[in-house]
Structures are given as C-alpha cells and as structure tokens.
Amino acid sequence: MSTVKLTVNGKAVSAEVEDRTLLVHLLRDHLNLTGTHVGCDTSQCGACVVHIDGRAVKSCTVLAGQAAGANVTTIEGIARGDELHPMQAAFRDNHGLQCGYCTPGMIMSAIDIVHRHGGELDEATVREELEGNICRCTGYHNIVKAVLDAAGRMKVAQAAE
C-alpha cells in the first residue's frame, strides 16, 4: 500500500491504495468520481480518458503511483458551476451522445484535440484524432459535429478572455 497524493479537478487529494491500482480505479473507487468509465480496460476504447497535466490519456493504462504529484482533470472538473463546458454544451446541442457511456472520454479527448489544434479543425482531422475513442451508438456523425461546433465556441470564449 502507498499513499498517493495528487491534484484532481483543482483539489489536493490523497488516497491509500495498493501499488497495482490503476488511476481510473483511484478516481472511481477511492474518490467516487464515477464519471470516468472503464470500457475495454485494454487502452483501446477511450471511455477512461482524463487529462494528466493537460494531456488526454487513458487512465486505465496509468498506475495511480504514476499520477502522484500530477494535475488530473476528469469530466467532473470541466464545468464552471452550473455552466457546462463549451464541449459539453456542444455535445448536448448536437445530440452527440446516445447511451452516454463513451461520452466522458469523448469530451476529454475532444477538449485536448481543440487545445492542440488551436481551434483550427476540419472534419477529417477530428475523425482522425478521435480514433482512440470508440462509440457503439452514434456512428460518430453527431460527435464530429459537436467537436467542430465546440472548437468554434472555445475559440470565441478564448478570444473574450
């Protein structure tokens, strides 16, 4: 057992976990942040994507100990109070989800995509960049629309800041 200290959604947290604990289980089972999902548990589906120090990663393939000292953001940490993050709002407005299981990972990956491309995105790029996130309901069409919509909103929001 080890004590792992890290920052999650802006708050300093610490958890007593076995060394074999995965980051996703630390988040879900120890911190009760169950928005991050485990889909395939084999680094393929992307339902577990969170941000570590600003980069989208698959939290099912990171040991909790590897995240010690890191700044982790989960789906629970992106809205500002009652105001949805522009990516969340765009997923809702574009009907970018059906069952919702993949959605937290989709949104965390999509935010990272917009950040890395500085809002300059086209459909082909979004499809290519989302290859590590699997959705079995939507056929991706509205997810791609949502990401493109959010890229515009995030650019506007950034310009206003």
Binding site: S2, E18, D19, R20, L22, D41, T42, S43, Q44, G46, V49, R55, A56, V57, K58, T61, V62, L63, G65, Q66, A68, S109, D112, I113, R116, E129, E131, G132, N133
Partner: protein, 266 residues
Amino acid sequence: MYETTYHRASSVDEAAALFSKGSDAKFLAGGHTLIPVMKQRLASPSDVIDIGKIKDLIGVQLSGDTLVIKAATTYYDIMTNADVKKAVPAIAHLTSVLGDPAVRARGTIGGSIANNDPAADFPAALISLGATVKTNKRSIAAEDFFKGLFTTALEDGEIITEVSFPVPEKAGYAKMRHPASRFALTGVFVTKTKGGDVRVAATGASQSGVMRVSAIEAALKSNWSASALDGVSVSASGLLSDIHGSADYRANLVKVMAQRAVQAAG
C-alpha cells in the same frame, strides 16, 4: 493484475539500484505495453520501477548530423519536436501514425524498442537509419540490438538512455495500419544515407521481427524511385501469416509500402 511494488526513480543510477534489489523487477516508462501485459497476468513483476520522469531521459537534441532522442521522450513530444521535423521528418511521421493521440501522450521510444514487438514502428526506423542505442552500460548498433520477437540485446537491469540517429539525405516511412489495433500490418522505412547507401527495413512482416529487405535495397541503390521497385518481388518465406493477412499478402505489402515510403521521402 498481480500485486507489485511501485517505485519512482529520480535518476538512472537510482533506477538501476532499485532494479537490483527487486527479485523480479521491471522498468516502466509510459507503461503502455507493460501495464496491459500485467493486466493479462502475462507479466507479474515483483517491483515496477518508473523511469518515465527522469529528467536526463527526456528530450531531443540535434547537433550537426546527429539527432538524439532520449529514451523516455513520449511519441507526442517526438512528433511535435521542431528538430525532429527538420532533421528526420520521417520519424515525426512514423510517430504520428503510431497508436492514437492518448497513447502517443504516454508511450516512449525507449519502451517501444525495449519491447521489440514484431509489429512496432520504431525498430524499422532504427534499423533503416542505422541508429545507435545507448544504455547506462554501453552503445549498441541497431543491427545488433534487435534479436527477434520481443527480444533485444539488453541485459537484465540495463536501461536504454537514448537513441542516436545519423541525419539521412532522405528517408520515408509508409505503413498499412491494422484498423483496430493500429499496429503495422506491414510498415517499411527507407533511408538514403548521406554516404549514398540505401537501407530498407520492414516491420510487421517477418516472423522474426524487424528485417532488412535486400532486394529492395539493391533496386533503390541503382535507382531511387518508386517505379524502380515495379519488377521487384519480395519472398514470402519466413513472413507472418495470420487472420489479418497471409505471407504472400505481406510480401506484396512490403513492396507497396516501400514504394509509398520512397514517394514520401521524395
């Protein structure tokens, strides 16, 4: 996953010392091979030694005709690095078609070559470019480093510190990706060195891991062009044959990917 003890090393020497204390220790950098293998219970190290945050193992340096990529540099940091893009754009391309964005944020060049998966991308780049692998003990030429499926020249407890690539005159990489795993069904890296030599390496094709392709090298040496390979045939002997593709299919892919790689190299 079986129980293990996690250690984070802050220097290469500390990592080596921790390794020698463990009964069956393993090094971890990005963890994108070791952790899945531990989950499958195909590996059950007593100790996992995290070398992914050792500062001396991260970064890229270009000096003269040598590009050095340190072992724990992530794929994302490689593909976006200005020196890599300038000196060997084929490496930046190779890294950009490896895994998916979240995998590229964690996986490292050192981890890829230490694992030596027969369908991994980087072994082809090292062999084709004539790279040298540096460890905490010695320097190993790429030709001597890769020893077959999941096997390398690394000794127990030896740590890769960096890979050094001679900057080529031209180089290109083309890969037929498996659509689900994104591993190379077959990938080919072609290099024309500044000395005029041609070296071609294929990954995902051979039963014994990364391989040189002498028939293609000979054809490209006399005429560096995709059409020079039109009449070349690659032997299917010793090539992988599985549900994804027969040996004959892969033999043809080696040629087609080599042609695309030459086109990419210009």
